[in-house]
């Protein structure tokens, strides 16, 4: 109900602002949101836009995030490139380097909306070395450690915000004989592993590039991080793991885990958590019942400090692609601006309250935003939300060093160089230095291409 009200408001506002477009144009929009309910929401937004703009058709296509790069390659080769995609920043930077992104449209949107309204760090993340915008930041999440505060208190453990605290707690709370695990760090060869590693590496001042763009990944700081990571992995549930193992936490079999703000939804709502324990996330299903006190007993440590304090998050952006049709390009630009209109923007972000955080300033304090349909934000409070979102002014990652971006980092990500290195060390017992050497060699090969 609330959604349709918001959309109606959007319709009224936009109807006054945008005069109808003259001729027929098509916007094919690939979104990484593949869940049915989210797709329905996006389609609702698309048809609202169509209703406001005569002759414009918006086709929403769901493409799995892991498939996006492959599907794009096929589409470009076949001459059926979509006009607009929504995908994570690493893929955006990699696509930008392939020369198929329409930076002019992005610049136009930024001029219309106002550069200062975007969170600075978010915009920098999607800027090319020569200052072009490879994409427009749309929504993002912050990662940190979510932990069982009641267990920590019981054992007199400090919050897991330093390397020492994390290791002590993981060790203390692991009891393998009783099927209890201290921590979850990623050990499968997928992106979750890279996300966990990145935050720890940044807190140890390890980096992929220096400000001049030299590859400095093979450093004592990185090696130290790998060794530390390997220690933590010993307190993991057995075998290679990824984010799906967070269900062990919901079952009360794990003390802490790295996760994004997307978990807020799952933790807040017994109903949502029950869904997560039964439907798509088949693998860890125990049939166990949900613990209603879990929210109360869960705390969040977003910043990890070792040599420096590091928060980590990532964002997804909207990317207009080059087309041969000026009408399509114009329609795409209008559609993007429609998607940034507060009413439609909030409708989109409310698909995953807490998980999808706004990239435009002011949205997080908007009363309409704070009244999400699941009541998540009421539970966490406006101040907490503002604090989480402000992280995007100063977000750190491997691809941005002192305000300069290094798109090669996106290519490393796409080729899972770091996750494979971690997998080799934690699961295959490869020597950390040897694994680091081969990761560096692989990075050099990718850069050489």
């Amino acid at each position: 109900m609330k959604h349709s009200l918001l959309v109606t408001r959007a319709a009224l506002v936009n109807g006054l602002l945008i005069s109808s477009l003259a001729s027929a144009a098509t916007v094919e929009f690939w979104t990484a949101q593949t869940q049915t309910d989210r797709l329905k929401n996006i389609e609702l937004l698309a048809s609202t836009f169509e209703a406001l703009n005569d002759g414009v058709t918006v086709n929403v296509v769901a493409v799995d995030e892991n498939e996006m790069a492959t599907q794009m390659a096929a589409a470009v080769a076949a001459g059926t490139t979509p006009q607009l995609i929504e995908v994570n920043s690493e893929i955006i930077m990699a696509l930008g380097e392939e020369g198929i992104v329409d930076s002019k449209t992005h610049q136009g949107v930024i001029n219309d909306i106002g550069k200062s309204r975007f969170h600075k760090g978010a915009l920098t993340t999607l800027t090319s070395p020569s200052g072009d915008y490879y994409g427009l930041p749309y929504h993002g999440w912050i990662q940190g450690i979510w932990y069982r505060k009641d267990w920590f208190d019981e054992k007199g453990l400090a919050a897991p915000n330093t390397w020492e605290n994390i290791e002590t707690a993981a060790k203390t709370l692991t009891d393998k004989a009783n099927n209890q695990y201290g921590i979850l760090v990623g050990t499968k060869q997928d992106s979750y592993t890279e996300q966990v590693f990145t935050q720890l590496a940044l807190s140890n001042n390890a980096a992929e590039f220096d400000a001049k763009g030299n590859l400095i990944f093979n450093s004592p700081a990185t090696l130290e991080t790998i060794q530390y990571y390997n220690t933590l992995a010993k307190y993991n549930p057995p075998g290679p793991q990824n984010w799906r193992a967070r269900d062990y936490y919901l079952q009360g079999k794990m003390a802490m885990f790295f996760y994004s703000t997307y978990i807020m939804d799952d933790l807040s709502l017994a109903e949502v958590a029950k869904g997560s324990l039964s439907s798509e996330n088949f693998k860890e299903l125990s049939g166990g019942t949900f613990d209603p006190n879990l929210v109360k007993n869960t705390a969040f440590a977003p910043i990890i400090t070792h040599k420096s304090a590091a928060s980590y998050g990532t964002l997804s952006g909207l990317v207009a692609l080059k087309t041969n049709n000026a009408d399509d390009t114009q329609a795409t630009k209008d559609f993007i601006e429609f998607m940034y209109d507060p009413a439609s923007y909030i409708t989109f972000l409310h698909m995953a309250p807490g998980g999808m955080n706004p990239m435009l300033k002011g949205i997080a304090e908007d009363p309409a935003y704070l009244e999400d349909p699941n009541g998540v934000f009421t539970l966490y409070g406006a101040d907490k939300m503002k604090q989480i979102v402000s992280g995007f002014d100063d977000i750190r990652s491997f691809s941005v060093v002192k305000g300069k971006t290094f798109p090669a980092s996106g290519a490393f990500f796409a080729k899972s160089v770091i996750p494979r290195m971690i997998y080799d060390v934690t699961i295959e017992n490869k020597d950390p230095q040897a694994a680091l050497d081969s990761a560096e060699a692989e990075m050099k090969t990718i850069m050489g291409e």
């Binding site: 390659a73 080769a77 393998k176 695990y181 549930p237 057995p238 088949f282 693998k283 899972s416 090969t445």
Partner: protein, 288 residues
Amino acid sequence: MSSILVKNEARLGLKLVAPAVGIIGLLVIYPILFNVYLSFFDVQLNGSKTFVGLDNYTDLLGNPRYYHSIGVSVIYLIGTVVGTTVLGLAASILMNQEFRFRNLARGLILLPYFAPVISVVFGWQFIFDPVNGIYNHVVVDVLHLTDTRENLIGNPDSALFVVILFDIWKHFPIAYLLFLAKLQSVPKDLYEAAAIDGQNAWGRFWHVTLPELRFVIATVVLLRIIWNLNRFEDVYLLAPNVETLPIFTYYQAFAGIVDQGGAAAISVIQLLVLVGLIWLYVRKVLKW
């Protein structure tokens, strides 16, 4: 026949095969040739190409993971082909005996083969889940055989064997089906004659059943080799860290941004192997 008639007939023949030749040329020959061409280039998504000579090939052949994946593939092939053949043979001989509910049993054996891969893979993952799975529950909590919970599917040392076991379980019914069909056509008097000659059950199997089945067994083995050399979905879904050749190719070529030149080089090499197998198939299987 006059030469005009022969000529006319030849011309008609050409016209009749022309569409087929055209379609094969367009859909098979052209892509293969274009693929060979691409394998000498570094290809960007926007279509621009840089000639790199044999670099794509030397990169591939200098990659230790490539050889590792060949080794894994060989173990996988031997394990699965031997396993399915032996189990299929045993099952077919058993099911060739007279007993009550034989038809029901014959049907039930086929179930794993017809069940969708994705659903049985999830079933196996449930069973072997390290924290909640029934396997660890039975081994650790009920039978107390060991204190440590194992992630058999995740652990790279055991994963290959789980994957082999899975393939045997999933695909032995096809071997069983082919063997049983042949067994049913073996004349009863051959067994009677062997019995009169004083052969026991083992002797009858060795001297009657096996020679009769020889060609079917050879066909099954050859087919299984060809299928399993390219088997992707079972392995990738169950244990993506078991890098057989097709999985390696996938990671190398299609993970992340597609390296079209490198992928082309891999597929050219794969094509050569496949051509060898097809040649074998045409010469052997189709001649039997």
